[in-house]
């Protein structure tokens, strides 16, 4: 059964090739069939492989296909590695990916680039599968760059608008900074271990690099650089809000559910290296905590519904980084899974709303959609409840609670991290329900243009069910002893043990975070339904603060002054390129010598002979005299 892993990766690439090459010869229904089928089949195969794997979860499965290339001792193979961590990611990528493809069939049906869209989406799924299934870091890097490319192509999908192209370029360049750091990290690892096979590396690192040694620290910092680029964390988070320029399914698939979690995957995959660098681990936690606060507060002021979701994505990945930083590996992966469900759901539902409102993104021009689009409303509510971590009934509560508890009680946890996480939970609830109340309640200003069909509703309902129920496979110890998830993941990731083992304290903390969520919901209710004039008044009063938050803490402006301006200034100064001048000078001097020497070529044979004789004389003189 396990040899099917190769086919999971193969189908999306086949789909891409067929759609890319034969796009203009295929009918629309054919394109949909290939585009969705090439993700649907891997989803089915993943279920088969997964069920088979669950029966015997111990140990990892390696499937070798062929050698990629060989250079010295570097011989990366097209080899797939399946362990619980990879299986969870593959499941999310194929399953959520399949639902999003299904949704896209209806969402994109009137678009000119229908075939192109599905080709890129399939390429993305294929690259992401390579990323999570690769057994060596070189192959992983291929997938890593593949998803970066697809991200560029899909953000700029509506390329006729220069703004979209700009956003695509920004995403590409900013993530490229992280990629460069990661590649240097790979060089460092290879220089010291002569291999980039993940399993060999993980086995060799603890023996060779002592805990806290500078090499381990530098190695993990470089890999962390790649992770923060791809996962849109501080300081490279600026690309994600702009990435909303792409179609909604793209935002759902790439910028919420899967690609941006590649950084989380990378850190979890190389956790042995990070464990050898405690300082960097602490840095990861601090980055996560800061990012979740910055992104959360920015989300509070956004008016574009997709931007709210984009900032919430950054914030939720911040939670995952916080969990990774305190060593709560399985909690991070668990939150990734739950987040993939509800965030895909939220983006897809938001896409349906935007479509119904004639491509209007501004929430404040919507309002009252609850009655008009009941299914969208209820599924969106389910996703939002999960995002805000409504206690007990949503999956988001269980995953976020695990992170918050371990950020305090875990081995590397402390109260500051917990405080940041809890404050973030409050902010999350406020902006999430602000979105709900503004979009779906109040009075309706505009007519809805269209009714979503089944292809849009079914993925929403399925994802809503998962956003609610996925939490019950892993529950806190003090509530019910269910640890299906962490029990499964612990075959590839070490288990995090709380240092404090007081059920009473755990109850208290759960109570506090529940209160935070409910308080946040009430605040949003109070401010946007009962007293809608208050926020408007504040926006007027504190317009500077609002502007600051609206622009995501003005990081764009900071980078404009810190990086972009100096670079453009330098290039302006160096328009003539001083290095070029050196070569121009060489060319000039060659020409000068040419004009000089060409005079000796005067066509007089006797002159040449004289020259030869003089030359001989000179050489003889040198030989004799020296």
């Amino acid at each position: 059964m396990q040899h099917l892993i190769g086919y999971i990766v193969l189908f999306p690439f086949l789909g891409f090739l067929v759609l890319f090459l034969l796009n203009r010869y295929l009918s629309k229904s054919m394109v949909s069939l290939i585009g969705v089928g090439s993700v649907g089949i891997p989803a089915l195969l993943t279920m088969l492989v997964g069920l088979n794997y669950l029966n015997d979860p111990d140990g990892t499965v390696r499937v070798e296909t062929w050698e990629w290339f060989q250079a010295g001792s570097l011989d990366p193979g097209i080899t797939f590695l399946l362990d619980p961590l990879a299986l969870i990611f593959v499941f999310i990528v194929t399953f959520v990916g399949f639902l999003i493809h299904l949704y896209s069939v209806e969402f994109m049906k009137n678009d000119d680039g229908y075939g192109r869209f599905f080709a890129y989406m399939n390429l993305f799924i294929g690259s992401m599968l390579i990323l999570v299934l690769a057994d060596n870091l070189v192959f992983l890097y291929l997938g890593w760059e593949g998803v970066g490319l697809c991200s560029f192509l899909l953000i700029g999908f509506w390329y006729r608008d220069p703004e979209n192209v700009k956003a695509a370029k920004k995403a590409f360049v900013v993530t490229r900074i992280g990629d460069t750091s990661m590649v240097i990290g790979l060089f460092l690892l290879f220089a010291h271990f002569q291999t980039l096979e993940i399993q060999e590396l993980l086995a060799a690192i603890p023996g060779k690099w002592a805990e806290g040694s500078s090499l381990a620290t530098w190695g993990s910092i470089l890999l962390l650089g790649g992770a923060v680029g791809k996962s849109a964390q501080l300081p490279l988070q600026v690309w994600l809000p702009d990435a909303m320029a792409g179609p909604s399914p793209v935002s759902a698939l790439i910028h919420a559910a899967t690609m941006v979690t590649a950084g989380v995957y990378l850190i979890a995959r190389t956790h042995v290296l990070f464990l050898q660098a405690p300082d960097v681990m602490e840095g990861v936690a601090i980055i996560g905590a800061l990012t979740l606060l910055i992104a959360g507060t920015s989300a509070l002021t956004q008016t574009d519904i997709k931007k709210v979701l984009a900032y919430s994505t950054i914030s939720q990945i911040g939670y995952m980084f916080l969990a990774l930083g305190v060593g709560a590996w399985s909690a991070a992966v668990f939150h990734f899974m739950v987040h993939a469900f509800f965030k895909a759901l939220l983006f897809l539902a938001a896409g349906a709303v935007i479509l119904a409102m004639h491509h209007e993104h501004n929430m404040f021009k919507m309002g009252g959609l609850r009655k008009r689009m009941p299914v969208i409303f209820w599924t969106f509510l389910a996703g939002a409840a999960s995002l805000a971590a409504v206690p007990l009934i949503t999956a988001g509560f269980y995953s976020k609670d695990a992170i918050l508890w371990l950020s305090f009680a875990g081995e590397k946890g402390n109260s500051a991290l917990w405080l940041a996480g809890t404050a973030g939970a409050f902010i999350t609830a406020v902006y999430t329900f602000r979105m709900i109340f503004v979009t779906f309640y109040g009075k309706q200003d505009h007519e809805t243009a269209y009714r979503p069909g089944y292809l849009i509703l079914i993925p929403l309902i399925v994802l809503a069910v998962f956003s609610m129920l996925a939490g019950f496979i892993e529950m806190p110890h003090n509530m019910a002893h269910v640890d299906l998830f962490s029990g499964f993941v612990q075959f590839s990731l070490p288990e995090a043990m709380p240092q404090i083992n007081k059920p009473g304290l755990e109850w208290l903390f759960q109570g506090i975070s529940s209160l935070m969520t409910l308080g946040g919901i009430f605040t949003a209710y109070f401010l946007y339904l009962r007293r809608p004039e208050k926020p408007r008044q504040w926006a007027h009063q504190y317009s500077r603060t609002r502007q600051f938050l609206l622009e995501g803490w003005k990081f764009d402006r900071l980078y404009r002054y810190l990086v972009i301006r100096p670079v453009t200034y330098l290039s302006e100064v160096n328009r003539e390129d001083f290095i070029d001048r050196i070569y121009i000078l060489m060319a000039e001097s060659t020409r000068w010598w040419h004009t000089l020497l060409v005079k000796t070529q005067n066509g007089r044979v006797r002159w040449y002979i004289m020259g030869t004789a003089l030359g001989v004389l000179l050489i003889l003189a040198i030989i004799i005299l020296i």
């Binding site: 005067n602 006797r606 004289m610 004789a613």
Partner: protein, 99 residues
């Protein structure tokens, strides 16, 4: 004769040949001067060979003779062609191949 006086003779012959090549403007005389230079080199070989009782000197002279014969054959053919084309044998008159 000693090797020294022989080499002096050869040197004088060579300088005469070289001067001829350099100052003569008629191609045929230039060819003649080249022949003198070749023979000067040949004499040097023979003197060197005989002073060491080594037959290789004479063998080299035979080679030089063969080269000189070939050179004269090609050189005279060129002279005929040059004369046909330019109606002159003055080497300074045909100096249009310049850079």
């Amino acid at each position: 004769m000693s090797l020294e006086s022989g080499l002096i003779l050869s040197g004088i012959l060579f300088m005469i040949g070289l001067t001829g090549v350099m100052i003569r403007r008629n191609i045929i005389f230039m060819l003649l001067s080249v022949e003198i230079m070749l023979n000067a080199a040949g004499i040097a070989f023979i003197f060197a060979g005989s002073s060491r009782a080594d037959p290789n000197g004479q063998i080299m002279f035979l080679f030089i003779l063969a080269v000189a014969a070939a050179e004269v054959a090609i050189g005279l053919a060129l002279v005929i062609l040059i004369y046909q084309k330019f109606k002159t044998l003055d080497i300074d008159g045909i100096s249009f191949m310049k850079g």
